[in-house]
């Protein structure tokens, strides 16, 4: 293979590569200077028109969403479509959805790091950022779904003067508080640690206040071999710490449902099912986001179709896992012999919300099958559409679990219906505004692809190339 002849545009499916050769992860025509210049450009330069349009839109949506949150707090939860039977609707659906999205970042940076998957380097930074922002969006919903959100601090076990009052450790909501806050802390630390060498690079290139800011953020990084060694060790340790969290967060979120008595919630399959679903939805969201970022910031040389190829394979795998989970749920509902379970799942598939169920099945099980085709795995359009479908499907999966199980549970006399109000829809859209606002700000203050890791990958790639030749 001739390295100089390679351009991203001519990158074809893997099977087009001669046997014994591997498609490079990043363009190997790059040298270190070029990498640095290309990746810090969005941080150092002035934002372009595209960024501004995206940012203004995101902030507008954000302001709209927060105004509706303000309205909810002012008037009461009654502004939503919830009722006596369906106590959770969009609020907890959105919560689980965003927590699920928040899964991919840590999975990519921690588990794939431990598994030495080099392809993660190009997308890890963006995925980690996405994780943080998604967890912020997720955390918003348990807060605002409370009848009295100003008392939310009661969810934390802190020394108080209220006699023996303490949190109820039997409640999965308390576990949630711990799981999510731990996950957020570790993810934040991990993300920040990875940013430190890049902040140092920015510091070295900057003048004036930016130099001061990045100097402060880079914590006196000196680039010495000892620092690098300690950095690598710390990364490995944090990856080890974060790995169980990837599993625990969504397991515990699934406990919100699994430990209850409501048919359709009370299910032992939920922990693995939720984790698989979270990886699925997380990767879908990473894919959406990275496809957009890549175009917006001209990072085609760093995030190549080979990355998407990998991600599409993860999607089809996890998609099949959730499909298996759906089938297992149906089978167990029948096999259990419990009339409540049977009815609940019959009601999901054929009840008044059947459209939501079949939409979920279509988006999460049928759509990813397109990725059996290598061509589809490398078509930006197909990838983008499929990832959006998966995002929608995974939102509806949570909607189906939360709402369809609740609206018809044990006592037929209490059966009811849930229709969201515009306020709820607006807050959901507003949470996307928050997410994209944070992400757009992020790409302006830190390199969206890790400089040092790309350089490392480049070095490995060259070593490998020399080895094969």
């Amino acid at each position: 293979m001739s390295a100089s002849a390679w351009t991203p545009d001519r990158l074809g499916p893997a099977e087009l590569w001669p046997p014994g050769e591997r498609e490079p992860l990043v363009s190997d025509s790059l040298d270190h200077g070029e990498v640095t210049r290309a990746l810090v450009a969005p941080v150092e330069g002035r934002p372009g028109k595209g960024w501004w349009i995206a940012f203004v839109t995101a902030v507008t949506v954000l302001v709209m969403g927060f105004s509706l949150i303000g309205w909810t707090v002012y008037k009461g939860i009654g502004t939503w479509g919830l009722n006596r039977t369906v106590g959770w609707g969009y609020d907890i659906t959105n919560f689980v959805f965003w927590v699920g999205i928040g899964h991919a970042g840590t999975l990519i940076s921690a588990i794939l790091l431990l598994l030495r998957q080099q392809w993660r380097t190009s997308i890890a930074r963006a995925a980690e950022g996405m994780t943080i922002f998604a967890v912020c969006c997720a955390g918003l919903f348990p807060l605002i779904h409370m009848g009295r959100p100003w008392l939310a601090f009661w969810m934390f076990p802190y020394p108080n003067s209220r006699g023996s009052l303490w949190v109820n450790y039997r409640s999965p909501l308390v576990w949630d508080v711990f799981a999510i806050s731990t996950y957020l802390t570790v993810s934040l630390l991990f993300w920040y640690l990875g940013l430190v060498p890049d902040f140092a690079t920015l510091r070295d290139r900057a003048r004036g206040w930016r130099q001061k800011l990045y100097g402060w953020l880079s914590l006196g990084w000196d680039g010495s071999a000892r620092t690098w060694q300690r950095y690598e060790k710390a990364c490995l340790l944090l990856a080890g710490l974060a790995t169980p969290l990837v599993v625990s967060v969504h397991t515990i979120v699934s406990f919100d449902f699994a430990t209850s008595v409501i048919p359709g919630w009370h299910t032992t399959i939920f922990p693995p099912y939720f984790v698989a679903g979270a990886v699925f939805s997380g990767f879908a969201m990473v894919m959406t986001l990275v496809l957009l970022t890549r175009r917006l910031l001209h990072l085609e040389r760093f995030i190549t179709m080979r990355h998407f190829d990998f991600m599409a394979k993860v999607l089809i795998t996890t998609g099949l896992m959730v499909g298996l989970a759906y089938a297992t749920e149906l089978f167990i509902a029948w096999y259990s012999g419990s009339r409540y379970e049977r009815f609940t799942f019959w009601n999901r598939a054929f009840g008044p919300y059947a459209w939501a169920y079949w939409l979920m099945v279509f988006c999460n099980v049928v759509v990813p099958q397109v990725f059996w085709s290598a061509r589809a795995r490398r078509s930006e359009l197909v990838l983008f559409i499929a990832s959006i479908f998966v995002n929608i499907g995974m939102w509806f999966e949570r909607f189906n679990i939360v709402v369809i199980s609740l609206h018809r549970d044990y006592l037929p006399s209490s059966w009811s219906h849930y229709t969201p109000t515009l306020v709820e829809v607006g807050i959901l859209i507003g949470s996307f505004g928050l997410f994209f606002t944070l992400f757009l700000l992020f790409v302006r203050v830190a390199p969206v692809v890790a400089l040092h890791e790309i350089k490392h990958t480049l070095a490995l790639q060259k070593e490998g190339a020399h080895g094969t030749h």
Binding site: K75, R339, P412, H417
Partner: protein, 981 residues
């Protein structure tokens, strides 16, 4: 709660007033200028204190009832006082006890010693309390629409009455059950000349039955029913257990009879067109239109007469064409003949032939004197259609000299409002005595703003031989006057105060000894003592059997023309919540869902599923019902069990020109009929669909129990329930050493009629907010106690099962484990406690509740008007927005009992009654320690089951299955146990 010798009820008597009460204080004690200059610090403080206390009681000098500013020794602030009185919400006049806290009544309960109602109080009666605090009440009298003083009113009325010029003064009232009020009306009419017209707008047709009674028993008074003495009860379209004439009394008798273990089970057969509460509770229900009911009654009479010697004339009576259910009639006649003297047939009809036939059946079966008593008649229905017709004619001809309307609102309830308004304008003097701004009041010259009954002295005699006393429980809130006092003032009687007049009459005519002590005892008990002389009845003419047979023959000869097939029969019905709508401004009653349609705040036209299909109508579609030239539009509600040819239209909703602030569905079905009587049967109606829809405020949308172990019925009292086993699983929770008591409730579904008295009792006791139609339509009602209604069997002729559902205080409460802040926790005595001020409102508990009995405060729901807030029970926290709430088993009452026990130094708690239990006319609710004899025996009865026992939450509520006694050969209720619709 109190033991008998504790003097449970107090009287509000002037002799009890404390010497320092404001009655003894001067009107104003403002110091003169020179005094003020001479003030020193101490005297300033003294005066400031006095003026502050006087400022708090700036009203007129008080002579009667008053909140205690300086408490007498036996009144402790924060401790409830109870006053025995009489409910005046409807003529049934049940006994009541008003619980008064710091001068304001906060709860009405049944009077346990009342000889008829015996402790129960219906939803309507309890709702009357909320009407006392209604912000829309009249606050002062008015003349020609202008506020006036009582002196001016009296002058104007006196001047008007002096100019009658021989034309009669007509007093229009609902049936007057108060002998004292009747004597005051008699006094007024004697002075000025005139006539009393009685009319009961909420009553099912009684006029024909009254005429039949006149023919058969010699006076137009209904014989009193003794359901307790019957083994077989046959009812024709009379809603004895629902919105009938005396629902509390009849429900109590009916339920007590069903519980009587030593006797054969009561069999109840009900014949009707529109599904009623009585029909829902009957063992057997036959569907029949009005004409068919007449046929059935006459066919039964022929069979019974044929087997009765000397009744050949009756056995040969003509049968009308419409006499369905021939085979069932044969069997029922045999049953009736087998139960001679132990059966009871009752009807509410406009058809004299049917009323006479039923009267004859009872006479031939020898039931008179056993299951019904013509000698001791009921006095709650005295309105005759002929009197009403006379009044309407006289008004139209301009023959009325003065019209005094007592409480009623004919302008709203009668159809031809414009004509009546014109006629009223021609009457020289029109007076409305009312506590509400009504349409009639707006058309009257003088509006004598009336006290609420809880501010008045009165008495009531709902049945010959029963007399109870009504005393005020609160000092009048506004510048109103008791209707009795108004009548006395206008008749120029020497005694003008209602209390004086009443006491004088009682001492003179009622009490055995005319001394103060006897009067005080009567006031304290709220009842006339045993052996007291009670109201005189009109003398009975000797009845003439030959004439009675002839009357029946004549009545049978008049028959209505057959109805074409595309014309339905409209039946105007009263629902238990609003009845005739005279209390439709009471939010508690508006919010109370109808037990059958499960719709609150709204009148729905009830259609059989078959009829709805043929009309292409579904729930919530607006239909137009036309009777002759009149029509109303109403949302449809498909109701299984409705006769396919009959459409049921409730009359209590809406109102014209009343400016009703809670008006939501301005429908007045009563205006369909031109006669001015509210509840009509057998109207020929055309029903058509409109293209409009309405979101019905339904509290229950699914009618079937889906075969789940939720509710059961059995064929006999000793029969066990199948399929409601409690799983004997391994317990993951650590065992708790049970303390005593462990509170437990048993609900007897065989006694429960679904009358919903408990729902209002719970609402009043526990300060449950009213949320309105829109919120109910969104399924956000706040009721802690609801009565689920299930249909079992075929949708055309289903069995109806009611199941009161409230927090089950589960031993393994799923709500408790999931609350993150431990706002819902388990108490030692087995209660599932809700700590409102700890709740952050995650709603997880409600989601995890299998019974869905938790209610969340979606908004700030409590009323903001100061008057409306006076009804709040100070013992119960008013919940804030964003907080979860639910039934507590009336923990405030349990705590009160605990405190009382501790104060008395005893270990045993006195008996605790929950609010729902207290109000239940059927005594279907039992509450106490789960280990106590009365609870434990019921918990382990064969009929006992727990709803959703298989979920394993161990509820502290046990239900006893409904018993349905079918005739031999009829399908057993087993077939449809816990069944489908």
């Amino acid at each position: 709660m109190a033991t008998p010798d504790e003097r449970p009820w107090m009287e509000l008597d002037e002799s009890q007033a404390h010497p320092l009460a404001p009655a003894a204080a001067p009107e104003r004690a403002e110091p003169t200028e020179s005094d003020a200059l001479a003030l020193r610090r101490r005297s300033f403080l003294t005066l400031a204190g006095i003026s502050a206390s006087l400022a708090a009681c700036e009203r007129l000098p008080v002579r009667h009832a008053l909140p205690y500013v300086v408490a007498p020794e036996e009144i402790t602030p924060g401790v409830a006082t109870h006053y025995a009185s009489t409910c005046q919400a409807c003529p049934a006049a049940c006994g009541l006890v008003a619980t008064v806290r710091d001068g304001r009544p906060v709860k009405l309960e049944g009077h346990p010693e009342h000889p008829l109602s015996g402790g129960g109080l219906c939803a309507f009666g309890q709702g009357d309390l909320r009407a006392l605090y209604d912000a829309g009440r009249l606050r002062e009298p008015a003349i020609d629409g202008q506020a006036a003083s009582w002196e001016d009113v009296d002058r104007r009325v006196a001047a008007g009455l002096a100019e009658l010029g021989g034309r009669p003064l007509v007093v229009l009232s609902r049936t007057v059950t108060s002998p004292t009020l009747r004597s005051a009306i008699d006094g007024l009419l004697a002075r000025w000349g005139g006539r009393l017209v009685e009319l009961d707008p909420d009553a099912e047709p009684a006029s024909a039955a009254l005429e039949a009674a006149e023919i058969l028993h010699g006076r137009p008074l209904l014989p009193a029913l003794e359901i307790g003495a019957a083994d077989l009860l046959v009812t024709f379209a009379t809603d004895l257990l629902g919105a009938g004439p005396e629902p509390v009394v009849h429900t109590a008798q009916w339920a007590a009879r069903r519980r009587a273990a030593a006797r054969p089970p009561l069999r109840h057969v009900h014949v009707e067109g529109s599904l009623s509460l009585t029909g829902a509770n009957a063992d057997e229900r036959w569907l029949a239109t009005a004409a068919e009911r007449r046929g059935i009654a006459l066919a039964l009479l022929r069979k019974v007469a044929a087997a009765s010697p000397g009744a050949e004339a009756l056995a040969a009576i003509d049968l009308p064409a419409a006499a369905p259910h021939a085979a069932r009639v044969d069997a029922l006649a045999k049953e009736l003949l087998a139960a001679r003297g132990r059966s009871l047939v009752v009807t509410a009809t406009e058809d004299l032939a049917e009323a006479l036939a039923v009267g004859w059946i009872n006479r031939l079966l020898g039931n008179e004197g056993h299951t019904l008593d013509p000698e001791r008649p009921s006095l709650v229905r005295r309105g005759l259609d002929r009197d009403l017709a006379w009044l309407r004619g006289a008004l139209a001809r301009g023959e009325v000299g003065a019209l005094l309307v007592l409480g009623l609102d004919p302008l709203d309830q009668w159809p031809d409002a414009d004509a009546i308004r014109k006629a009223l304008a021609r009457v020289p003097l029109t007076i409305a005595v009312t506590d509400r701004p009504t349409a009639t009041a707006s058309a009257c010259q003088v509006v004598a703003a009336a006290h609420h009954p809880l501010e008045c002295w009165s008495d009531a005699s709902p049945r010959a031989g029963v007399l109870s006393l009504a005393q005020p429980a609160v000092r009048p809130l506004f510048a109103t006057r008791a209707p009795l006092a108004s009548l006395l003032a206008w008749s120029g009687a020497p005694l003008r105060e209602d209390r004086e007049f009443l006491a004088e009459r009682w001492k003179r005519e009622v009490l055995p000894a005319a001394d103060a002590a006897a009067w005080r005892t009567a006031v304290r008990r709220g009842l006339a003592p045993e052996g007291a002389a009670v109201a005189a009845l009109p003398a009975a003419r000797p009845s003439d059997a030959v004439a009675a047979v002839a009357a029946l023959r004549a009545a049978v000869a008049t028959s209505a023309a057959a109805r074409p097939a595309d014309v339905l029969e409209a039946e105007l019905i009263a629902e238990v919540a609003l009845r005739d709508g005279s209390r439709s401004h009471v939010p508690w009653l508006r919010e109370l869902p109808d037990p059958l349609t499960r719709a609150a705040w709204s009148a729905c036209a009830r259609l059989a599923p078959e009829t709805a299909r043929s009309l292409g109508v579904a729930d919530g579609d607006i239909v137009r019902v036309s009777v002759g030239a009149r029509s109303v539009e109403m949302a449809a509600r498909v109701l299984p069990g409705q006769h396919p040819r009959v459409i049921g239209l409730p009359v209590g909703y809406g109102g014209r020109g009343s400016g009703d602030p809670v008006e939501w569905n301005a429908t007045r079905a009563a205006s369909l009929d031109g006669s001015g009587r509210a509840l009509r049967r057998g109207l020929s109606a055309r029903v058509e669909r409109t293209d409009r829809r309405e979101r019905l405020p339904l509290v229950q949308r699914h009618a079937s129990s889906e075969g789940r172990p939720i509710v059961f019925q059995v064929a006999g009292a000793d029969e066990a329930v199948h399929g409601a086993h409690v799983p004997e699983g391994r317990d993951l929770w650590p065992a708790r050493e049970p303390t005593k008591p462990q509170w437990h409730m048993v609900l007897d579904l065989d006694a429960c009629t679904g009358c919903s008295a408990c729902v209002v009792a719970c609402q009043a006791e526990n300060n449950i907010a009213v949320v309105g139609a829109d919120e109910i339509a969104r399924n956000r009602g706040m009721h802690w106690l609801r009565i689920d209604r299930y249909f079992v069997g075929s949708p055309d002729e289903p069995d109806v099962l009611f199941e009161p559902m409230m927090c089950s205080q589960c031993d393994h409460a799923p709500c408790e484990t999931v609350c993150p802040v431990a706002a819902t926790v388990h108490s030692e005595d087995g209660l599932n406690q809700q700590v409102y001020n700890r709740c952050v409102g995650t709603r997880y508990c409600a989601n995890n509740c299998p019974y869905k009995v938790r209610a969340f405060n979606w908004f700030d729901n409590q009323p903001s008007e100061p008057v409306a807030r006076m009804v709040l029970n100070p013992d119960v926290t008013v919940r804030a927005r964003g907080v979860m709430e639910k039934c507590t088993f009336c923990v405030q009452r349990i705590q009160a009992a605990r405190i009382a026990a501790r104060a008395a130094g005893t270990a045993d708690l006195p008996e605790v009654q929950t609010a729902c239990q207290q109000s239940c006319p059927a005594r279907a609710i039992h509450f106490g320690d789960g280990a106590s004899e009365s609870i434990a025996s019921r918990r382990h009865a064969p009929r006992a089951f727990q709803a959703l026992a298989d979920v394993g939450v161990r509820p502290s509520i046990t239900y006893l299955a409904r018993v349905r006694t079918r005739a031999a050969g009829a399908p057993s209720p087993h077939d449809s146990q816990g069944g489908h619709s």
